[in-house]
Assembly symmetry: C2
């Protein structure tokens, strides 16, 4: 065993050097920053090939964040993973409606997921919005429907749910929607990944 | 595209069936429940081979949770991912000291990570404790040292940090420590994985 005692900032710097060294692709600079941050959060180099960006997605995200955006997440876990310090500094805020009692009540009544109901609530926000979906394909599917029917026009959708039922389909639906997106192909994703994408954008500000 | 409209409970049931079908190993029943829950949270079948348990780790965990344990996490993200409803029902609680102002202050003063300082604080708890480390190898290294010097005797350590610097070493150190553990080999892990392990245990209660 060979533990190197590094300072916190140096640990991150060294990690990023290792990731850079081991990456086998060379995506455009800003996309690469996002991909590196995801690999940093998962140690999974599959994401080098999995993460997909619509044209200019990162630029659109940075512009929106500079205007003071609301970030809407589909889980409290993704919400907890987002860097609040940078967010607040730029007049942005992050919200998640999943734990609201009225969301749970309505979901039960309708026999749908809480994720669906919380997306419908978020669609009514009047500020520039970035959606961050790391867990629930049902949230992403409902959001895609709301985009299609022009009930919401997000500035960016970070749509990276994880799982085995309707996950791949929900991502394919996002890619066809008329909205800037960052997504992942296949089943992989998660709150950690979605939060990492979001933080990569915040660190670029 | 072929979206199946399933009810929330059925989505989870179907997912678990798919995981069960695609798994290529057949670990002991209780360990398998944990592994399936991790694959459910990551869609990464590497964990089928990566997750390691000390003998009787799951049984020890269940016993401890029934006594009313404190679960200590190294990130607010892992904390957010743990099922509080079941936790509270069994008289357990979960804490994370990372965001405490005095932790940040002491870490800065000593030039160490906040994760280290928060482990030292948690080591002073007087109740049966389960540590859940999904992010910071520095937290796991410090915890291993505290176990070695008999300053703390956790009932279980879920030690699954992710990353590139000292992560593998911190897990090898845990495997050698005299403490029940659930860990993962290699670089992979994360808050999602650690929370999934924790929830798998809670669902078994």
């Amino acid at each position: 065993m060979d533990i190197e005692y590094l300072k916190p900032d140096d640990i991150e710097k060294r990690s990023m050097e290792i990731i850079e060294m081991e990456m086998r692709t060379n995506p455009p600079k800003k996309n690469k920053e996002v991909i590196k941050r995801v690999i940093h959060a998962t140690a999974d180099f599959d994401y080098e090939h999995n993460i997909l960006f619509s044209d200019g997605a990162v630029e659109e995200a940075l512009k929106t964040l500079k205007e003071g955006a609301v970030i809407v997440t589909d889980t409290n876990m993704a919400l907890a993973g987002i860097n609040k310090k940078i967010l607040t500094k730029h007049g942005c805020e992050a919200v998640c409606y999943m734990a609201d009692p009225e969301i749970a009540e309505q979901a039960k009544l309708r026999g749908v997921t809480r994720a669906i109901v919380s997306m419908e609530k978020a669609a009514k926000l009047k500020r520039p919005t970035i959606f961050v979906i790391g867990n629930a394909p049902t949230a992403l599917i409902r959001l895609n429907e709301l985009i299609e029917s022009k009930e919401v026009a997000p500035r960016l959708v970070i749509g990276i749910p994880v799982g085995f039922v309707n996950v791949v389909e929900s991502k394919e639906m996002l890619i066809r929607a008329e909205v800037p997106y960052i997504t992942s192909t296949g089943r992989k994703g998660g709150s950690t990944v979605a939060a990492a994408v979001c933080n990569a954008l915040l660190y670029m500000l």
